[in-house]
């Protein structure tokens, strides 16, 4: 089991249909050798965390353009705690102003990537953080 590929849930939440970023990230992580589960659109924070638990995911990447990030990111964090999955690496990205990104990181989002972030940087981050989690969780 130790050598199975990392499993990552890429998620879209709320009513925001802009899924270009989410799909590009999903493809890039898959091409980097990970198993990627894309939730599709219009998921609730509850559904996203459920998916991650059912899929035994190492990480969740949430993409938001609509401006609802300060509501929806904390709701996912809350759900992760509530479902006893606080160790799942939670990261995200989208159209997010710098100060909001800082606040989200403080709240427990592991990384926030804004438009223009290099795919390799995201891949490296996921490999490192989810790899660490693997070692801890086993």
């Amino acid at each position: 089991m130790a050598n199975r590929p990392l499993r990552i849930v890429i998620a879209k939440a709320g009513l925001d249909g802009h899924d270009r970023g989410a799909k590009v990230i999903a493809r890039a992580l898959r091409d980097a050798g990970m198993e990627v589960i894309y939730t599709g659109l219009f998921q609730t924070p509850e559904q996203i965390v459920q998916t991650a638990i059912q899929e035994d995911a190492d990480g969740i990447g949430l993409s938001i353009l609509s401006g609802a990030h300060m509501t929806l990111f904390p709701l996912v964090l809350e759900q992760l705690e509530a479902q006893g999955a606080g160790d799942v690496v939670f990261f995200g990205g989208g159209t997010i102003p710098p100060e909001d990104a800082d606040e989200l990181r403080k709240a427990g989002v592991k990384a926030v990537f804004t438009p223009g972030a290099p795919l390799q940087e995201i891949i490296d981050f996921v490999e490192a953080e989810c790899g660490k989690r693997r070692e801890l969780v086993g």
């Binding site: 009513l15 590009v24 493809r27 890039a28 609802a68 159209t95 102003p97």
Partner: protein, 567 residues
């Protein structure tokens, strides 16, 4: 000696061809040696191979009368007006909407005072998806990406103090488009302005939603019926209204190439034409009020070629395939917006420059109306300052650069004509593929468009990652930035609370019997294909039914759409 026609599109003489071969052998054969990013020099952004220089041989197949003609004449590749911008500049139409109707109304008054010609309404996500502001699905989204409009009361507040008979309004809304038109009509008529006096555009392009933007409500087939009803009603009752704006913008933003944007948008347009004809309308009755909406991306010449090809393809199809006889039915009229997806969060001031080039391409491509993006939109909704710069960009272009003096100034350029031909060729190849699926709706159901776009956007992102394509400030010329001091527009949660409160007050004071009655009649009309939905929608709106209630009544008959996700 054989007489040969001379000039563009003519077969070059053997002597000239010999000269060309000599020149090509002497030149670097189109390969760039300039280092990083040079991969981008031999291909357009959409991957069309480029030569170092173009000559007569590249347009040898071009028939001057058939393919080019003159501005204002079939096939309109050179523009739909003989005089271009000499008689009338394009409409400067900035897209705006945020928070409550009252907040947005203040921004509209500001923009009109600054010299903007028309209004363009951006709705928030819950409104676009057919949910009321107090619906659980609207959590965190109210007033964020646009203005929240729950009922006629909000539409009235949005146009408070604005003469709806004088200005024109564009509304970017698709799923609930028919409801928004009903609200607009009702708001105007309450002020004593008859619907026949209303000018503007409703986007109402539901096919594009399934392909790219993803703000749908009902499944494609019943939704097409709603749109056709709306087109029919507006055609007959609102002579100054553009009944639909068929949009490539979001297809491009979702990551398509220029040729895909062109092909998919026109294919959608033809699907509406076919649907209206199938519903018994005469093509010349509705086609003159169809309009289009394109993206202007950063690859300057490719964009110009795309706009020119769009007009030529449309004219040929409308006349020859759909049998339109009225010249107005042959002319493709379009609005353009600069590419949001070309803007960068890094060094956001660079976006001002990108927008200026993209706006120039739109104008050289002959657009009728233009929205220039604000530099900070990649981070948040624009501030008043950045909106002003974006509008001034258009004004400098219109009044200082002199590019408006000559119609289609690039017409006859070997390169632009060759690229226009290439865009047309690629679009036609896509039409053939779509036909093989059985049509646009069938191709949507098969995930064809979604897959093509996802592929293209991934390819594009990869070319940036490999630094094959240079994005200034992103993969080259970066610098450390402190972006904490950027002045960004914030929408507070108070907006959502306020909307929810007014909605509850509205529900308490309106005539509940009338609400139920109009919703019941609407539902009955949804089941009866022969009954146009629009008058029923206007009745619902006038009874102050909320958008969410109207959508729910319709969804009970039609169902809601879910897509198969592909990446």
């Amino acid at each position: 000696m054989i007489d040969r026609p001379s000039g563009l599109g003519a077969e070059p003489t053997p002597e000239f061809q010999e000269e060309q071969r000599r020149w090509e052998a002497a030149s670097a054969k189109g390969k760039s040696r300039r280092g990083p990013g040079s991969g981008a020099t031999d291909r357009t952004i959409s991957d069309v191979p480029l030569k170092t220089a173009y000559g007569p041989a590249d347009v040898a197949g071009l028939d001057l009368a058939r393919d080019l003609a003159w501005p204002g004449e079939f096939p309109y590749v050179r523009g739909i007006h003989a005089n271009g911008y000499r008689d009338r500049l394009w409409t400067m139409r900035q897209f705006a909407g945020f928070g409550t109707a009252k907040q947005t109304n203040e921004r509209y008054h500001f923009l009109l005072e600054q010299g903007q010609h028309g209004l363009s309404v951006a709705f928030d996500m819950p409104t676009l998806m057919g949910y009321d502001s107090d619906a659980p699905q609207a959590r965190g989204e109210v007033g964020k990406c646009g203005v929240a409009i729950d009922s006629l009361a909000d539409m009235e507040a949005l146009f408070d103090g604005i003469d709806m008979g004088d200005i024109t309004t564009s509304m970017t809304i698709n799923g609930p488009a028919a409801i928004a038109v009903a609200q607009y009509i009702a708001a105007a008529e309450k002020k004593g302005i008859p619907r026949k006096a209303l000018g503007g555009t409703i986007q109402a392009d539901i096919l594009k939603e399934y392909i790219a933007q993803k703000e749908w409500i009902f499944p494609p087939r019943p939704h097409m019926r709603v749109i056709v009803d709306m087109i029919e009603f507006c055609t007959r009752e609102m002579p100054k209204w553009n009944t639909i704006s068929i949009s490539g913008y979001h297809i491009r933003e979702a990551g398509s190439t220029a040729a895909q944007e062109l092909a998919f948008t026109l294919a959608d347009g033809f699907a509406y034409v076919e649907a209206c004809m199938a519903a018994g309308m005469d093509v010349d009755e509705f086609a003159p009020r169809l309009s289009f909406f394109f993206n202007s991306h950063i690859d300057f010449f490719e964009e110009i070629a795309k706009f020119r090809a769009a007009r030529r393809i449309y004219a040929r199809h409308m006349r020859d395939k759909y049998g339109a006889k009225d010249e107005r039915s042959w002319k493709l009229r379009f609005h353009t917006q600069t590419a949001g997806c070309s803007a960068t969060a890094q060094q956001p001031e660079n976006n001002i420059v990108r927008v200026a080039f993209e706006a120039m391409a739109a104008v050289l491509g002959g657009t009728q109306s233009l929205h220039t993006n604000s530099m900070d939109e990649v981070l948040a909704l624009p501030t008043e300052k950045s909106v002003e710069i974006a509008l001034r960009t258009q004004q400098v272009l219109a009044y200082e650069t002199n590019v408006t003096n000559v119609v289609d100034p690039l017409g006859g350029s070997y390169f632009v004509e060759a690229l226009t031909d290439e865009m047309e060729r690629q679009a036609e190849a896509y039409f053939t593929q779509i036909e093989e699926y059985g049509g646009v709706v069938e191709a949507i159901e098969a995930g064809f468009f979604q897959k093509e776009i996802a592929e293209a956007s991934y390819r594009y992102q990869r070319s940036i990652e490999s630094k094959d394509r240079v994005i200034v400030g992103v993969n080259h010329f970066q610098r450390e930035e402190d972006r904490g001091d950027l002045d960004l527009l914030k929408i507070t949660e108070e907006v959502a609370q306020g909307q929810a409160r007014s909605l509850q007050e509205l529900r308490a004071k309106r005539d509940a019997g009338k609400v139920q009655q109009t919703l019941d009649r609407l539902q009955k009309a949804c089941r009866d294909e022969g009954d146009n939905l629009m008058p029923h929608l206007i009745d619902c709106v006038n009874a102050y039914c909320s958008e969410g209630e109207i959508v729910e009544a319709m969804a009970a008959v039609y169902g809601r759409y879910t897509e198969r996700s592909v990446f």
